[in-house]
Symmetry: C2
Subunit: 399 residues, 2 copies
């Protein structure tokens, strides 16, 4: 069975999450992704978390899985020429370059398009006007931390680098959209994605910006779900779980399972509301939580789980990441996308397939190559360099 | 100038964030996205936030921008036949169906592929084994809330539906990857994406699962950035900002700007550490914060901004979402991806281009169509139905 992107070649020169994760996604789907790094690695090469044994970066080695890796002295004209030649190499399914470089005009779209007119470049940046930004700064700017956390705290940053991951997946989409256009029209594309735009676009896409312009800022209300019903509850043995009722059916199942159907019928009558609507459940969320939580306080997590599953309630346990990981280690079917992978330089790591299953198969996981391990092979196979030419480049310290 | 996906047609039958946002992204890039809904709308049709004037959903109308909309009685055999015919309509750039349906076997991949062997289906689901899940429940399962928020609080859910958005962008990538394969090989694809897999894959991709298997659970430490240096600080006039030093250059700029270079040089000597490494800054983050914060406490936000920008410090202000929105309204160039849009049924909304700029142009924003507004036109143009046939379907209540 072929992977969908077999035949496609992408050259990547990027650091941190967005760019490398885009390349990793394309590689998981079968593309030949050639990652270019400066000699010694880019600024993310040692990024935490690091392996306790080797001190190698678990982060770098994870986000660069399944790519070929080329390391060159990008400050030298000879090294720059190699990168330009790789990025613009001929072939209908090559000539695609993704990067997040700042201050490398020799690698601009125009420089590449001068060598290959149908060039596709996808450039990732902080702000569209060139100012720097990272996940953490765009998140505070659009106001998400101000909505996150319990009412009594200062604004809370979420720890997931969500904007970076979203941007990375948008980069992958943009690459393939440009490939589609080129196949139809022969045109190249110059694509730019700014992280600040990603964050602003998605808070707008959820309707949130129009909402605050109409209603003012939303309350910060802890773990309640906005605009419908979701809340956490604690069991007799200290377990914590999250309960969701987004649809009338889910609400019916939740109240029947917790034996509160009659209570809510009477309360709806008394308050003049309808708990089968999002508005009813959301407006009276504190009352709903207070009525539902005692059922959990009287039961162990195991008892609650059995009843919730039997009743068709939508819920999930709060787990620690360690707990989630141990569950996978004890029973790999509990997280079928995860894979134990032998990562050279590190040992066994908990890695992942793409969450995109094609024809019912998970992609599996390929390790990251040691930085620069494919330099000679790529320069020989893609650019046709001879052993003598490679030898000269090694002698000069270019590769 | 052509948009990259002009010529591509995708039929979508999906609700909530992931599926609709994938279709919206493809539509922004130029695809003809035909959204199918049950008569009266799917279960997300009234999802909050809602417009204060009309009570129409700001969420639904935002996530369904730029699509054509067809509403049919999907419980009737005639309605089902229309959906099947639309999804499998001929053409090299059609035959693509994205959905998140549960319990509609007549819409399975096999049912569609029986009518069009090179069919591409992309199905979004909760867990890969068919169990239900939503953003909030997969997030608690993988352990992110346990890492989020100040140490003294219970686990904190982030409010951004990050997994849904990430999944939606993965759906868009998967559609285009399958289109690429079909163009090369003629093969269709059956793609599945489970939300639980998306969450598990990304915590693994960041190296976090291997980390907890080695080191145990990470501390919950509020707004500090993990593994490098980032922290919030408060100015004399009560402004809050976030400071980042991910690279040696950023660290140098931050300490020079705050006049703390000599302090940290002496402290590094005293502690036997190196603040130019991620490990040094992260391990001693509380000392770093304590030394840096007084500079901010002595300055107004405006003074701090001037000095930070002049010094090349990477930082961002904490803003409320209202504050961010008002800044855009006062100066549209402050968030160039955002667009004022006249949304029929609502009025002016703050909408967005795709954060993907092609050839230096933002896509702009097209409104959502009123539910079912394109039914006749689509059935006539795509399926060739006559006025008489459409009239019969109307009379029967099928459309």
């Amino acid at each position: 069975m072929s992977r969908p992107l077999e035949g496609l070649r992408v050259v990547e020169f990027a650091s941190f999450v967005a760019g490398p994760s885009a390349g990793m996604t394309l590689a998981q789907l079968g593309a030949d992704v050639i990652r270019v790094d400066p000699l010694g690695g880019n600024s993310d090469y040692r990024r935490w978390p690091v392996d306790t044994g080797s001190d190698n970066s678990l982060y770098w080695n994870s986000l660069n899985r399944g790519k070929r890796t080329v390391a060159v002295d990008v400050r030298s004209p000879e090294g720059q020429e190699l990168v330009l030649a790789l990025a613009t190499a001929p072939g209908p399914d090559a000539g695609i370059f993704a990067d997040n470089n700042v201050g490398r005009p020799w690698l601009s779209h125009d420089a590449l398009a001068a060598r290959r007119p149908d060039m596709i470049t996808v450039h990732f940046e902080g702000h569209a006007d060139g100012r720097g930004a990272v996940d953490y700064t765009v998140n505070t700017e659009v106001g998400v931390p101000d909505l996150t956390g319990p009412p009594e705290t200062a604004p809370v940053n979420h720890v997931l680098p969500a904007w970076d991951i979203i941007a990375g997946q948008s980069l992958a989409t943009a690459v393939l959209a440009a490939v589609y256009r080129r196949a139809r029209t022969g045109e190249g594309s110059r694509v730019n994605i700014a992280l600040a735009d990603v964050a602003a676009a998605w808070v707008a896409n959820l309707g949130w910006l129009t909402e605050v312009s109409q209603r003012g800022d939303r309350e910060r209300h802890g773990n309640y779900m906005y605009g419908s019903f979701g809340v956490d509850a604690v069991t007799a043995d200290g377990g914590r779980l999250y309960l969701v009722a987004l649809t009338p059916r889910q609400w019916k199942n939740l109240t029947e399972t917790t034996g509160t159907t009659a209570v809510f019928a009477a309360l709806a009558e008394s308050l003049g509301t309808d708990f089968f609507t999002d508005e009813g459940r959301y407006t009276h969320r504190e009352a709903v939580a207070a009525i539902i939580r005692p059922w959990f306080a009287q039961r162990t997590m195991a008892e609650a789980k059995t009843a919730l599953d039997a009743g068709g309630v939508l819920w999930g346990p709060y787990q620690t990441m360690r707990g989630f990981t141990e569950k996978f280690q004890a029973d790999p079917t509990s997280a079928p996308v995860l894979v134990d992978l032998d990562q050279p330089g590190i040992g066994t790591v908990i890695s992942s397939s793409a969450p995109i299953r094609v024809d019912e198969h998970y992609t599996g996981a390929a390790p990251a190559h040691v930085l620069g391990a494919d330099t000679d092979e790529v320069l020989a196979s893609v650019l046709g360099l001879s052993d003598a030419e490679l030898g000269k480049l090694h002698d000069a310290g270019t590769i």
